[in-house]
């Protein structure tokens, strides 16, 4: 029986009070509650504060480059689609440097779980604006404030028909845990944008700021109505909805690949003798 002990890792190098702590805690608890063992799945992460998470727990880990989690995760899934893959990344990593891969992955509907620790800032590099940084925020390298419109991951997800798109909040771990479970159990590409206070570099979007705004989606809200989902996705300001914004049941990329219908590539034996037929093709 897997317990929290199995998920003990390095001591986090995050700042005291960082919003990453409750997310890490939720992550571990979810794994334990789902009875998944550390060797049964792989975490792919990029570079940033959030991306250090796998070192602070236990799991198969590919901690890759800044912004490139999705292609790595896609490669892993195509080689072994029986291996659950969770991606832990930041708003800069995933929405900034990695934007092109995000669009491609949503369209492919590759069955990975994408957890974005969205602190609306570049934390590890000491506070530059990220795509989700609010307009007007002043940083060292933007003395006149951000003038690029804030990126809305939920709106993008609905527009690209993302299979599962939710928003969570580090300050509401129980709700976050239920989202994580739902995402893990959902068949298809699943994004959770997790509002994560950065106590050091983001003095605007603090725990309080979020607490005053976030609310759970109405019980009668239907995430499978795409147009309604788009309207909901645009809601950001006085009130910020958390929960599953959009969901559909498109077939996954893996399901549609005839070559791996039988078993995962990684378990398909290689038979050198068959090469003769390929040789014949050149006569």
């Amino acid at each position: 029986m897997v317990t929290l002990e199995n998920y003990k890792g390095q001591v986090p190098a995050w700042c005291p009070g960082c919003g990453n702590f409750p997310i890490l805690k939720s992550f571990k608890e979810v794994m334990v509650e789902l009875g998944i063992e550390p060797h049964q799945f792989t975490v792919v992460s990029g570079i940033g504060q959030a991306a250090k998470l796998p070192h602070y727990t236990k799991c198969n880990t590919f901690n890759g480059l800044h912004g490139r989690t999705l292609p790595v995760a896609t490669g892993i899934r195509l080689a072994n689609h029986e291996m659950p893959v969770i991606i832990v990344t930041g708003d800069g990593d995933c929405y900034g440097e990695g934007g092109n891969h995000l669009m491609a992955a949503m369209r492919r509907n590759i069955n990975v779980k994408l957890f974005v620790h969205d602190n609306q800032i570049y934390g590890l590099t000491k506070g530059q604006p990220s795509p989700t940084t609010g307009e007007g925020m002043v940083t060292k390298n933007m003395p006149f404030g951000v003038i690029t419109e804030q990126f809305n991951p939920m709106a993008l997800a609905v527009a690209l028909d993302c299979s599962f798109a939710a928003r969570g909040f580090a300050g509401d771990p129980d709700h976050l845990k239920s989202l994580m479970k739902e995402a893990i159990n959902h068949k298809g590409f699943s994004l959770i944008d997790i509002l994560q206070p950065c106590v050091t570099y983001n003095k605007v979007n603090t725990y309080d700021w979020y607490r005053q705004r976030v609310y759970h989606l109405e019980s009668d809200y239907d995430p499978e109505d795409r147009k309604a989902a788009f309207s909901k996705a645009l809601e950001w300001g006085k009130r910020i909805p958390i929960g599953v914004i959009y969901r559909n049941h498109r077939p996954t990329f893996e399901e549609r690949l005839p070559m791996i219908a039988g078993k995962p590539l990684v378990h398909q034996a290689f038979d050198l003798t068959k090469i003769q037929t390929a040789f014949k093709g050149f006569y």
């Binding site: 792989t42 480059l65 292609p71 790595v72 029986e82 690949l257 070559m259 050198l272 040789f279 050149f282």
Partner: protein, 576 residues
């Protein structure tokens, strides 16, 4: 017997169909064939050509002088008439070119009319032309008829029959009218069918034979042929071929698939590889095996998309931030492309490093005849720790320190052991660190310990010609064939040899064969490169201190031909 046939026309007129078909007919007849192509970066129009050489002796390059020109457009005449040999012939359809040439060397064959009259259709002009060439060469039609059957089977018997009739019409017309044709094709001694294969297919075939299971790439000339070949084999060999959203994704997917436990490869050209450089460094840091095929074309930037150059050797040697080992192979023939691709997969996995297949448009597009490939000589050893074997090991650290620097590559999920790796500097388990001591040991593991072992895998350069040569021509990669024929040509009058490198980096040891001494003993050494700066010559100097006495560079986007190379070499030797 040594004939050269050139098919010229606009893009989209089907010169490739004619060329491929003729080449196939010749190889099935048992002839030796060498073909190469010249085309513009456009889909219709312009002027392209396809050149086929056939002989009863092995061939490895193209000649400038031509025996038969199939002119599908006027440019074929204006550009290439001068290349015609004394008894050469140009066949064309005056109705198509809207022009009549009345010189003895021209033969006007109404391809279109023949097609229609023999119950076919205008679009079968190429079938008529192909038949005509075979007629002029006095060959049988049977192989061509078989090929028609194979090609059009799906389109139904009617189409097959019609094409066969058109082929026959073209054939007979030529036999009847090409009275002064003095060609006669002899297939040579062992005239059993030969294998006909191009460089890019040979790389694809090599990947299949090496158990490659994953290929991700973004289309780019001249590498796209690898993706197309593997895609055609996806189902049969259990390979996943995925077109990535960009080259960055391509290499990162490749790394991911390899991490997950399958042999993986990507391919591109110089410009696409420029986007893979960061991923290359990732593969190195995480010690994830990857094979990368890079097809050179003239740069910088977009350059000449469909032409050839040897411009990326130095780029590949130093690509990637940080310091790490890599292997670079540059095949000179389809046979080498096949076997070096196979070794690339073996060595990438054995040492957990990136291995390159550095080719170019010229090699990619030129077809050679082989007496066959030997499956028994294909290397296949699975170095990964899987399933039960992995379960049985007591404890496991992905980046464990070892004598050789190589730590076992476990397949994540196959056992309870965790497989952890990181692009940050890490400890034996793969977790991020900051301390100096671990850093030093990791650099020694990745670099200092592996390097000597890797160096030992690299074969000596290939020598051909005189054993105590006064002159040595040296080259690498795709110039192999043309250098070889140049040596054959020049040995008649001089003491000359060639030194060819297909295993370029790490640079070969001089222990087994002291090529530096070999070069020093020659009066003149000429480094031949299809580039402007002499990248190989720089590599030789950096590695051995040796400087060549002379250089021949070609950087107009076109390959060397035997005559031009021989001419240039003689020019330099004259200077002696």
């Amino acid at each position: 017997m040594d004939y050269t046939i050139k098919i010229g026309g606009e893009a989209g007129q089907g010169i490739q169909t004619i060329g491929d078909t003729l080449a196939r007919v010749f190889s099935r007849t048992g002839c030796y064939v060498f073909s190469h192509q010249d085309y513009e970066s456009r889909i219709r129009g312009g002027h392209n050509f396809y050149q086929i050489r056939l002989s009863d002796k092995p061939l490895s390059a193209s000649k400038d002088s031509v025996d038969i020109i199939v002119a599908l457009d006027r440019d074929s005449v204006t550009h290439h008439e001068r290349e015609l040999k004394e008894h050469g012939r140009i066949i064309y359809d005056s109705s198509a070119l809207r022009l009549k040439y009345d010189k003895p060397s021209f033969l006007d064959i109404p391809f279109a009319d023949l097609a229609v009259q023999s119950g076919g259709d205008r679009i079968m002009v190429n079938t008529a032309a192909t038949g005509a060439v075979l007629g002029m060469l006095g060959m049988e039609l049977s192989h061509f008829l078989d090929i028609i059957g194979e090609t059009f089977r799906k389109k139904g018997d009617e189409v097959v029959l019609a094409n066969k009739n058109v082929a026959l019409a073209g054939y007979e017309h030529a036999v009847k009218n090409c009275t002064r044709c003095s060609f006669s094709v002899i297939a040579g001694a062992a005239s059993k069918p030969k294998m006909l294969i191009g460089g890019v297919e040979a790389i694809g075939l090599g990947a299949v034979a090496s158990g490659c299971k994953f290929y991700s790439a973004y289309p780019m000339t001249p590498s796209t042929g690898i993706m197309n070949y593997l895609a055609a084999k996806e189902k049969e060999y259990g390979i996943v071929v995925e077109q990535a959203e960009d080259e960055i994704a391509a290499i990162n997917m490749t790394v991911g698939a390899s991490f997950a436990g399958v042999r993986s490869m990507t391919g591109t050209s110089g410009g696409g590889f420029a986007l893979m450089v960061e991923g290359l460094s990732l593969a190195a840091m995480t010690e994830t095996p990857v094979v990368i095929a890079v097809g050179q074309r003239p740069g910088p930037a977009t350059g000449f998309p469909t032409r050839t150059e040897q411009g990326e050797l130095q780029f590949l040697i130093s690509a990637g931030h940080g310091e790490f080992p890599r292997i670079i192979f540059a095949p000179g023939t389809p046979r080498q492309a096949f076997s070096l691709t196979n070794r690339a997969f073996d060595l990438a996995e054995k040492y957990q490093i990136p291995v390159f297949i550095l080719f170019d448009t010229y090699l990619a597009d030129s077809q050679w005849t082989l007496d066959g490939l030997d499956a028994s000589r294909v290397l296949y050893m699975d170095y990964r720790l899987r399933g039960d074997a992995f379960k049985q090991v007591a404890d496991y650290k992905r980046h464990a320190f070892t004598e050789s620097g190589i730590s076992i590559l476990g397949v994540p999920g196959d056992a309870e052991h965790l497989v952890v790796t990181d692009s940050d500097e890490h400890d034996e388990e793969g977790h991020i660190v900051e301390d100096a001591a671990t850093r030093v040991k990791m650099v020694q593991k990745r670099l200092d310990k592996k390097l000597p072992l890797i160096k030992r895998e690299i074969a000596s350069p290939f020598v051909y010609g005189d054993h105590k040569p006064a002159v040595i021509i040296t080259g690498w990669g795709s110039t192999y064939g043309v250098m070889k024929e140049a040596v054959d040509e020049l040995s008649k009058s001089r003491s000359i040899a060639m030194l060819h490198y297909s295993e370029l980096f790490p640079f070969p040891h001089t222990e087994r064969f002291d090529y530096v001494r070999f070069l020093q003993n020659a009066k003149q050494t000429i480094c031949i490169e299809n580039n402007a700066t002499g990248q190989f010559s720089r590599l030789m100097r950096a590695e051995t201190g040796y400087a060549f006495t002379t250089h021949i560079h070609k950087f107009d986007g076109r390959p060397f031909t035997v005559e031009t190379l021989v001419g240039e070499i003689n020019g330099h030797l004259g200077k002696l």
